[in-house]
Structure formats: structure tokens, C-alpha cells
Assembly symmetry: C2
Homo-oligomer: 334 residues x 2
DNA sequence: TGCTTGCTTGAAAGCGGTTTCACGTGTAAG
DNA sequence: CTTACACGTGAAACCGCTTTCAAGCAAGCA
């Protein structure tokens, strides 16, 4: 019988104690003598008692729910993080409740308010573009942690990933393979991650004393089509390049497709590296060399951060590192 | 000020009415005279009133929350449906709360119980493998709708997709292009969707009077690796084929990779069709012909079904159809 | 004019827990 | 042998909203 109409009062009667005592074994068992505690537990089992969460929350002010603001973007990166959060949360007393930011400023605010209305104990925001001020508005209601985003000017905790380093390492990998004419398809220029990856790209080039050809930097948007446009554009303008660093794997796929349309061989004529390590990346012909984003670890870290904050302790922001996955889309330059 | 400590009583005082009246304008505005209703509304705005959901739920028994059981499987299909559900739910009074079934039987039951403990008003189950009996156990607590799954022997509502038709149409497309030796990489044989897709494959072949070569049917698992194994296995055994129908796009990617490793051209020498229409499918060299699963529509349908049930009306199960997306991975057989 | 009917409204009783507070008890300290 | 103190416990207040119930009142009807 799931329709648990068994209340704390029933248990109290059955166990021969008061409601207060039953409540105590529920919340602070050690304050009740062994014998009564056992009696209560037995009664609970026998009657199949399930505490009513609403009554509980109403009385103590905690919902044991944490809100997640997702972004309705087609990238698997956020999905992976979300999944990881769901998983990690299973080990805790908290349940996740979702609200979608749709990658729009207003929608994101609305999403947070929805969650706040539902009295979540904390909120985790995946990406998005809230300003510190706006965040702060919500923050004094409940603790917030930002994932996949670092925000200067606010001292809350962020679980970020080092995009500059990823851009740097991807490019460095190409340089180490002897490439000099390295093109870059950027992500959405209005997206912080994109500019950081490009920053890493420039840094690696500068460090290797390779002059930067601005014409080889194509402003993309993280979508596949950007990759094909980039290649067409370079080819059309007669730019030559032996390698391309795409801001994400999806763009890299686009690059690869465009090259294949022109019968340009990968990696023999042009090498490619992306960022993300999507499942499909290992299946591209040839399998794509890329940088794996630690989505799972980030989800776990976010949950950990939230739970420690909720338990009254302090936590630090963390900046995670991507991992270079070497496959077959890069060859030494001949 | 978000820490809304403004209660219904404060509003009542401000508006010069009783708590009961305030509650009425909240729930059944028409039963209150225009003038008082306005006074209450004004008071609410001035004081920034946000009703306490717990108190509400405790009093009326509804949580305005609907539980979603997800499956922690790597496929984007479920993710898309989930996202679509989140989106659709935004238009309603309900908020989604998630619990992961991890594609394991016990975990799935646990997930449902978690949701039930939290007094969800209904639950939507994505895929999974619950039996009708188990479902029924939960079902008499709250309404349930199953998505991406048809279950014989239970009369609840299912939002399914016609897997037999998808398998049939994919195969038919190949047959129509003149192919006869059509191989098939199946999905996980223990997965109902997989067997239905294969059923469609067999049906199309039978209908065209093409004898079925069991050796050309490779038992896969929906993962990419299965596709490469399938090709290796066929080639090793000297089987010849001019086309392959992969149970999903991921497998198709594997097939494509393996072929490319053997320098077998797609689609010139071998044609491929998959199922899913992932974002990456359009970017494969060559872009993959596939069958698009109506994930968004299914999510919407699920939400619609749930809300109508919750509003006391009846709904029917629906069986959706996939859509053939013709791209460049299939050529006429010469 | 008298009585019924229907509508609006407030008081109060829940919903099912948690928590304060005061009241024994048993034990340690004076 | 008191006085004190900690501890376990139950009664009752409370969390904030919904809903029943009965009362008040205006309109409808004979």
C-alpha cells in the first residue's frame, strides 16, 4: 500500500509514545532512549510509515530539494553534467528539481525564480550568462553554485573548467606535431568559454613564436555548420593551413565534413583537434583527437560543493582541467 | 527581497479581509467580489507575496510536481525527450523532479519510490524495463505515463514510437535504391526497440522477396563499437553486402568508421542508414541518411497526457512515427 | 410583508510534521 | 540529606495555507 496515510500520530499510538518522541527518532535518534527508539522503529516498519515531506518542510523550512538551472543548448556537455548531478545527488538526502534557462537571459532569471518559489534549499546553475548582481539577488535567499562558468566579481563557488588551458593544450599539441599554419574555428564570440579557448590558442602560438594570422581565425558558434563555413571561407580566400583547432568537437566535425567534400585528406593533409570528446568523436573517420571536458567530475564537484555549503561549511571554487585524448586526426607535418 | 516571509495573514490584514478570502482569490478568484479581489491583489503586489508551496501542498494534497524517471544511458534520444519535457512543463503549473533509473531494474524501482516519497502528482517514465505489475504497484498511487515504450498488458498511457515501421522504412529505402544484400546491425537484443527494428527489417526484406541471410544480421548493442565489430565480422567471413541498416546512428557511425579503415567508400561501395538523426549525423562524411525519432514531439505528448489525466480527463496512448531524412550515405546500387 | 434562496464572508478546524517548554527522574555535587 | 543539573519525555504551540461550516445579507417570490 503506497498511499501512506500512516501519520506520525499513528506510530506514536502504536509505540505508546508521543508524537514528539516519534519526531525525535526521525531527526535526532540519539536523544531518545534505546528502548523507545526501537519500539518506534518497529511500529514504523509494521505500519509502513513514510513521513510527509510537505509537513516536514513546512515545519522546519527545508525542502531537501536542490534546483538545477539547465540551458537548452544542443551540446552534450551540459547534458552530461546534468546527468552527473542527478547521479551524485542520489547519494544524498536531496532531490534535484529542474528548470530551464533556455540560454536566454530573461528565461534564466525566470527559471531561478521558479526554483526559489519552490523553496529549493540551494541552486546549481549550469552555464548561462547571469551577471554577478543578478546572481546576488538570488544568492541571499539560498546558496548558489555555478557550474561551467567562472565569474569574476562574485565570491560564490564556481565549478569551472580551464578553457584557456584547453585551448592552449589543443594548439600546443598541433605545434608539437610540427604544424605552423594552424587555423582556428572559434565558438560563439559572446560566450566566455569561446573567448578563453581562443585566448589559449593565441597564447600557444605566441609562445612558439608563430605569428598569428587573423584570417585563419574564423568566428564560429559551436555548431557544426560553423566548421564547414570556416573551411569554405579559408579555401575560397586561398589561405593555406595544415591544421585546425576547432573550439568544440561539433565544429571539428563540420571542418572534417567540409574537407572531405573537397577531397582533402585528414590527417594526411590537414590535422584537426577539437574539444569535448563526445561519444561520436571516437567514431569519426578518422577518430578525432580532442580534449575531454571533465563533465562527470564537474557534476560531482557541484553536488559536493552544494552539500558542504548546506551543511554549514565553506568550500572553494574549483577549476578543472581538460584531458588531451590523442587519436588519429593529427599527423606530424611532413 | 526574496526571503518572502509575507504570509497570507499579512495580506489579509493589509487588505482588510480574512485569510479565507485571500486563499480564495488565490484558488477560485471568481467566488470573491470584484472589489475585495482587487484589494487583495493590490496587497499581494505591494508586499511581494509568494505563497508557501509546502503549506499549500500540505493542505490540499497536491505537490504540483511531476516526477520523471530517466535512464542513464548514453543515448541522446532520452536526453532530448527529457529536455522537451522540461520545456513543455514550463507552460504548466507543474515542475519536473528527476530521479535516475540508471537503466537497471532495481534502480528504476528505487527511483520511482523516491519520487513517490516526494509526493509527486504523477510520474513519467522514460524507457526502462519495468513490468506491468511493477508499474501497477506505483500506478494506483499516482498516474503514470510511459514514454518511448509500449507495454502490452497494461492499459495506462504510453507515448511510443513505431520501431517496426522505422526498421521497415529504413530497410525499404535501401531496397528502393536497388540494394539486395542488406546487412543489419541490431540494437541490444534484450531491448524491445531493437527487436522491433529488426522485425521491420525482416518485414521489408520479406515483402520484397529478398531471402534473409542470418549471417548478415549482427547482434549489436546500440553502441558505436558494435558497428565496427559488425563490419569486421562480415568482412572476415567474406560476406558481401552493398548496404547496411544500423539500428541507430551510433552504430552507423561505427560501421562507417570500420569501412573507412578498409578503404571501402561510402556510399559508392556501401550504403548506410541509421536511426535517430543525431546532430552529428548531418556532419558525418558523408552526411548520414537516417530516420529521425520524434523526441520533441514525444516529450510534448507525454506532458500533455499527464496534464490531461491530472485534470481528470482521459487520454489515449499514442504511437508516433519516425521521419526518413535522406542525405548522402545511400546511393543507387549500380 | 414574510419567507426562502443564493451568494459572499470570516472563524476555526485541519493537513502532518517540528520544536519549545515545563515537568518529572536519576545522578552528581555540596 | 539537600541542591543542582542533565536528560528523557509529553503537551501544546506553531509552520502557512485550504476548506468546511455557519452566519449575514440582499434579492426573489408568494
Amino acid at each position: 500500500m503506497r498511499t501512506s496515510k500512516v501519520t506520525i500520530e499513528d506510530i506514536a499510538g502504536r509505540a505508546g509514545v508521543s508524537k514528539a518522541t516519534v519526531s525525535r527518532v526521525l531527526n535526532r535518534p540519539t536523544t531518545v532512549t534505546e528502548v523507545k527508539r526501537e519500539a518506534v522503529k518497529v511500529a514504523m516498519n509494521e505500519m509502513g510509515f513514510k513521513p510527509n515531506q510537505f509537513a516536514r518542510s513546512l515545519a522546519n523550512g527545508h525542502s531537501n530539494t536542490i534546483g538545477i538551472v539547465t540551458q537548452n543548448i544542443g551540446t552534450s556537455f551540459y547534458d552530461s553534467i546534468a546527468r552527473s548531478i542527478i547521479q551524485s545527488l542520489r547519494q544524498t538526502q536531496y532531490a534535484p528539481i529542474f528548470s530551464d534557462g533556455m540560454y536566454e537571459h530573461d528565461a534564466e532569471n525566470a527559471a531561478i525564480n521558479t526554483l526559489l518559489d519552490r523553496q529549493v534549499d540551494a541552486v546549481i546553475v549550469l552555464g548561462g550568462d547571469l551577471t554577478p548582481d543578478e546572481i546576488h539577488g538570488g544568492e541571499d535567499a539560498v546558496p548558489m553554485v555555478m557550474v561551467a562558468r567562472q565569474i569574476e566579481g562574485w565570491n560564490g563557488v564556481c565549478i569551472g573548467v580551464d578553457n584557456v588551458a584547453m585551448g592552449y593544450n589543443a594548439t600546443k599539441h598541433l605545434i608539437d606535431a610540427g604544424h605552423v599554419q594552424i587555423a582556428h574555428v572559434t565558438g560563439n564570440p559572446s560566450h566566455e568559454d569561446a573567448v578563453n579557448r581562443e585566448k589559449g590558442y593565441r597564447k600557444a602560438l605566441a609562445e612558439a613564436n608563430i605569428p598569428i594570422d587573423e584570417d585563419l581565425i574564423f568566428p564560429g558558434n559551436f555548431y557544426g555548420q560553423a566548421g564547414v563555413l570556416a573551411v569554405e571561407s579559408w579555401l575560397m580566400r586561398g589561405k593555406s593551413f595544415s591544421a585546425v583547432f576547432a573550439a568544440n568537437d561539433l565544429s571539428a566535425f563540420g571542418v572534417r565534413l567540409a574537407l572531405s567534400r573537397r577531397n582533402i585528406r585528414v590527417p594526411d593533409e590537414v590535422s584537426i583537434v577539437g574539444i569535448d570528446d563526445k561519444i561520436e568523436s571516437a567514431l569519426m573517420p578518422p577518430p578525432l583527437t580532442t580534449i575531454r571536458q571533465p563533465a562527470d567530475a564537474m557534476g560531482e564537484a557541484a553536488v559536493k560543493a552544494v552539500t558542504t555549503i548546506l551543511s554549514g561549511k565553506k568550500t572553494e571554487s574549483v577549476l578543472m582541467q581538460g584531458e588531451l585524448i590523442v587519436r588519429e586526426s593529427v599527423s606530424r607535418r611532413h
